[in-house]
Amino acid sequence: MTKRQSRMLAVAALVLGVGLAAAFGVTAFRKNMMYFQTPSDLVAGKSPVGAKVRLGGLVERGSVSRGEGLLVRFRLADCVKVIAVRYEGILPDLFREGQGIVATGALAADGQFVADEVLAKHDENYISPDLAASLKEQGGKHSCGEFKNTTATVTP
């Protein structure tokens, strides 16, 4: 093999590697990118039924109820809208009413959000920056007090 040929081979290998990576990357990205949404976004129908999203909000006071086995239902609020969430599994240590959490899952046909993962950070005062930013966008001064302290009656 001449110098030129071997260099061409090396270049071909490089192109192949980068091309493969790009192909994997693009398909993997399409499948695995998740948008962050608020309860208002979901209620407004911004996310189609079945599309996987991360939903951030405050767990409404007095909304947590347990069902059969490990089923748990609660409502998530973002100071404007509220959405009902159901989840089957173990809640994280810092899951509490009145706290900000992030749930991963999808909207079901009945308008409820079905979570397959619930995350709460290890800090009692923690509020996800994503959530904090979206709360700010929606009016700024709202303290969300009604969701933190009372049992607001809002239909899912």
């Binding site: 695995n32 962050f36 240590d93």
Partner: protein, 673 residues
């Protein structure tokens, strides 16, 4: 008084770092050898001063001096001594101080051992190290002073984050930082090579062990981090593709590519400018990691504070260091001409291919880590990229590496031939094939779990790759041994005659094989189950019976706990008794899951305690998460073997022998890696 002493020492250290940069730089410019020699003394002074500063902070923790803000924020009067000491690097300011201590430590070591190198090269490298150190010390003094006082003095500290109160966290950060910071040596010498335009045998022989050392520590640091996450986060995973994990993994990938390209540069005098670029890249990614973790752009247990000033400073520092390094590279790299030509089917060609895969994988991880940040910064929405992305991009890219390890082991430098290589690989390939059929079935027979056909196939393929690597990794050492024995050398001397570098490489490649084996089984055949259990009730998982004996309260030094009893039986025989806990730390008002693990080499049984399902009745039903994790220990065993392999390789005799600068690189091609 002590904290002020520490603060003062830190300021003096900055002065020493500046002296270490500016005086030799002036000396290089004016050709003044005495000014160049100042670098060594400045480095020693700097290390001493940072060590004093570190000791002062440690003393403040030991003495529970809550007048120091950092101590009050991260300690507590009831915190055990060992955690008070590890709390020194438990948060932002102290971990930066540890970074500084490591950097000055590496610099000190360089200054002590570099006498055999050309004075100009060393002075340049020391000046670069001094500049990096100046930047970090300035950052610390301006934005993150660990010695800040507060009055009135609080009566009690706010305690160390309970997640960090774990033995794994005592040594994980120092190991990781040893690795991160260690790449600064390769970086400094790469810059020095670019400036002086000299990249010869002495340069490579000098840079290789330092890079290997940094890589070995980084491997161990990542392994410890994974082990900690498994034990402490309570959710049984060993890798989450969390941005913070990626921040440590990207320099590792680049560093792995670097140690392999250095081998090519040493043996064949090829890929010189590529090696220099990788050295810059590895350190750039280490700095990027520090930026990602410390600036607060990421939210995780590692991101302690989100002070925008810090983020801006590190980003600026990153831009200056990496930007100027790359500009210098673009300008000077054409001078680093390689000696000789490269054939694809030769050891160096395969190593180049290995580099292509590693660097591509590294960029895939980089893309997934940075993309959400970029999208957010551009105001295009908030997205997250999940583990499936990383898995689907990473594993296909590294699978060929396992074949490369095997083929590389039987391919000589300069020119390889397909026929003999294939003949020698036939035995390990067939043995691995047999094992790939037997092992997965054996695993399923031992612990019946339901797995899809796809995951069964994946496990079989991964088993083949892992065992093929394991089988062929030893081939080189084996062949050396056989040929020496044929020459009539006794077994003992024949074993000792194999250079430590070869043993190290073999061990690290074995580690790679074991790691793959662990990953395959824990991912393919591991099972988990969330259950609701009343006291006395049982649940079945992978052929094991988990019996819940209820929960009782217990007390620790700075926490109270709900401690559960879980007995595990198999076919009526007791296997283990675990006590997973739910701990409450009143000082921070936080709750922690302390998992119960029964570890064996071939499997872990892992129980995490959930919560009482009826809050009014803690003696009633509880939720529990049960895991069966086959061969997870192999994942960490792989990391430990890589660490040990690295240590062995850097102790190789040839790095301690004086290398003449004039010696052409190709003259050393007689010895293999």
């Amino acid at each position: 008084m002590t904290p002020e002493l520490g603060h003062f020492a830190l300021i003096l250290a900055l002065v020493a770092a500046l002296a270490q940069t500016l005086v030799p730089a002036w000396g290089l410019w004016r050709g003044n050898a005495r000014a160049q020699a100042v670098a060594g003394s400045a480095a020693q002074a700097q290390f001493f001063l940072v060590a004093v500063s570190f000791a002062a902070l440690t003393w403040a923790f030991v003495q529970k001096d809550f007048s120091v803000v950092y101590v009050a924020d991260n300690s507590h009067s009831k915190l055990p001594l060992v955690y008070r000491i590890s709390a020194v690097w438990g948060a932002h300011e102290g971990s930066l101080l540890l970074w500084g201590l490591m950097l000055t430590g590496w610099t000190l070591a360089v200054s002590l051992f570099n006498r055999r190198l050309p004075a100009e090269l060393s002075a340049t490298a020391m000046a670069v190290l001094g500049a990096v150190s100046s930047g970090f010390l300035l950052f610390m003094l301006l934005t993150s002073n660990p010695f800040e006082r507060q009055f009135p003095v609080p009566l009690e500290g706010r305690d160390l984050n309970p997640l960090l109160q774990d033995p794994g966290l005592i040594i994980h950060p120092p190991m990781l930082y040893m690795g991160y910071v260690g790449f600064s040596v390769a970086f400094a010498y790469a810059i020095a090579a670019l400036i002086t335009g000299k990249l010869d045998a002495a340069w490579v022989r000098w840079t290789r062990p330092w890079t290997t050392a940094a890589w070995a520590f980084l491997s161990m640091g990542i392994t410890l981090g994974s082990w900690w996450a498994y034990n402490e986060l309570g959710w049984g995973g060993w890798w989450f593709w969390d941005p913070v994990e990626n921040a440590s993994f990207m320099p590792w990938l680049a560093g792995t590519a670097l140690i392999h390209s250095l081998a090519v540069t040493e043996k064949r005098g090829l890929l010189k400018s590529w090696t220099v670029l990788l050295a810059i890249l590895a350190f750039a990614l280490s700095l990027l990691g520090t930026f990602l973790v410390r600036s607060g752009v990421l939210v995780s247990v590692h991101a302690f504070a989100s002070d925008p000033a810090r983020g801006v400073f590190i980003l600026g520092f990153l831009t200056v260091v990496i930007g100027s390094a790359l500009v210098l590279y673009a300008w000077r790299a054409p001078k680093l001409a390689s000696e000789g030509e490269l054939r694809l089917f030769s050891r160096e060609g395969l190593l180049l291919l290995n580099n292509v895969f590693l660097v591509t994988a590294c960029f895939g991880v980089l893309l997934g880590t940075l993309y959400p940040l970029v999208v957010d910064a551009l105001g295009l929405g908030k997205i997250s990229v999940g583990p499936p992305y990383f898995n689907s991009i990473f594993f296909p890219l590294i699978a060929p590496l396992f074949v490369l390890v095997a083929v590389g082991a039987v391919t000589p430098w300069k020119r390889g031939e397909f026929g003999p290589a294939l003949r020698r690989l036939r035995a390990p390939a067939l043995a691995a094939l047999a094992a790939a059929v037997v092992l997965p079935s054996l695993a399923l027979w031992l612990a019946p779990v339901t797995a899809s056909f796809a995951s069964k196939l994946t496990v079989a393929v991964a088993t083949w790759l892992a065992l093929f690597t394991l089988g062929s990794a030893g081939l080189e050492v084996w062949q050396r041994l056989v040929s020496r024995r044929r020459q009539g050398v006794a077994l003992g001397p024949a074993l000792r005659g194999i250079p430590l570098g070869s043993w190290g490489m073999t061990l690290a490649h074995l580690g790679l094989g074991f790691w793959m084996l662990g990953v395959a089984y824990v991912t393919g055949y591991g099972v988990e189950r969330d259950v609701r259990l009343a006291p006395g009730a049982r649940a079945e998982l992978a052929g094991y019976q988990f019996i819940f004996d209820g929960v009782r309260e217990s007390e620790g030094p700075n926490f109270t706990a709900d401690s559960a009893g879980v007995r595990i039986e198999r076919a009526g025989q007791p296997v283990a008794a675990l006590a997973p806990e739910k701990r409450f730390y009143p000082s921070q008002g936080s709750v922690m899951t302390e998992s119960g693990v029964d570890a064996r080499l071939h499997r872990d049984l892992y129980v995490a305690l959930g919560e009482p399902l009826d809050p009014q009745n803690p003696a009633g039903d509880w939720s529990l998460r049960l895991y069966y994790k086959p061969m997870i220990r192999f994942v960490w065993l792989g990391g430990v073997l890589m660490f040990l392999g690295g240590l062995l390789a850097l102790s190789d005799r040839r790095y301690r022998l004086a290398a003449r600068a004039s010696e052409p690189l190709t003259a050393n091609a007689t010895r293999a890696v």
